[in-house]
Symmetry: C2
Subunit: 201 residues, 2 copies
DNA sequence: CGGCACCCACGACAGATGTCATGGTTCGCC
DNA sequence: GGCGAACCATGACATCTGTCGTGGGTGCCG
């Protein structure tokens, strides 16, 4: 029996996935939570063999949780599950010690499959994403650039960002300019889109 | 036995929802499709009692499909299902003739419940969303403003939009200015965010 | 130590953006 | 017919944005 912990912020799909996995003879869902913060306590309590984590969650995101979980329960294998097949997510998930990566576009059978493989010590990779993550490369943005672009992505103006990060307006524009150039964009908005698509934010 | 058609672009969650609904004694999933275009043919073939449609789908979106389905199979009731509880989606879904509206945050039991209620002739509404849709009101943007803002949301500059819509740059700026003012925003980017949140795009 | 990368800042400039005033057209409605 | 709403357009203006050059500070590595 493979003990599975489920983490996804959308209760409906979480319940649905639990139902689907429950149909499998060798899989047992022992816990399901809706936020990143709940994962660790639930995992300590239920000792799952595999944790299925959504990347996007309110509060602590799945990637951070994956790393923490790896430290707290080294025997528990992690499968990341996400709506968006962004190359950056993939690489970051692997860096955070995930053993598998499944996009929500994949055929349903893939999920139970991935859980079994990961449980038996194998790694489950999405070949398309793996290729993309090689071509798109690692995050080219420096920490400051990422921070500034992130703020801009939420609709903040230069003045807003400058105030929030205690910088001068000129410096903010410099960082934005660098980010725009590194993403091969021509506008701030475009840079945001590209960075988001690659999971660089 | 309630015959249900499932439409959601993410195969994994579609399969999971099918599995969950399959556990219910009185519900039978007779078709499941991944795009808006496939809905009508599948519905004609399988004659479902209830269609569960995701709002966001590649190609034809769920709201359009709902209206078409209402014309083609008037006996088939429609439940809209979506990740984002945007007030505009709710009102548009109701206008398109949907009988129910479920957000993916809702507890899993709600889904089967909603299907049963809708099948028995009732309407299923999300009280929170209904309230929001009253306060946020109907789409204040004119068709042109919506069109221009939509283009801007995809990262296009004024010049790009002007070229795409065969307008002068000044006109585009005027429409954008009007949209910004109507959304109580101060920037184009902010206007986009607000409009998206309300489902006005 | 001398590079090198990153961070911060200032100034200046072209171009884009948001606002406003003004004027034209069409269409539906009282 | 008069009126208002939506559409398109122009020109002018203040402001914001993106770019570039320059300079100074830190820390790391060969």
């Amino acid at each position: 029996m493979i003990r599975v912990l489920l983490a996804d912020d959308q209760a409906l799909v979480r319940g649905a996935m639990a139902a689907m996995l429950g149909l499998e003879r060798d899989i047992e869902v022992v816990a399901d939570v809706g936020t990143g913060e709940e994962v660790l306590p639930a995992a300590r309590r239920t000792r799952p063999d595999v944790a299925l984590l959504d990347v996007q969650m309110p509060g602590t995101d799945g990637l951070t949780v994956a790393a923490a979980l790896r430290d707290a329960l080294p025997t528990c294998r992690v499968v990341m599950c996400t709506t968006f097949g962004r190359p950056g997510y993939y690489t970051r998930a692997m860096a955070a010690g995930a053993a598998g990566f499944v996009v929500k576009d994949a055929p349903p059978e893939h999920l139970a499959d991935a859980i079994r493989r990961v449980h038996s010590g194998l790694r489950v990779v999405d070949p398309v994403l793996a290729a993309q993550s090689r071509t798109s490369g690692p995050n080219p943005l420096t920490e400051r650039e990422r921070e500034v672009l992130q703020a801009a992505s939420e609709g903040a103006t230069v003045a807003d960002i400058a105030a929030a990060l205690h910088l001068s307006g000129g410096t903010v524009r410099n960082h934005l300019s660098a980010a725009i150039s590194k993403t091969n964009a021509t506008t701030r908005a475009e840079a945001v889109r590209i960075a988001e698509r690659n999971g660089w934010l």
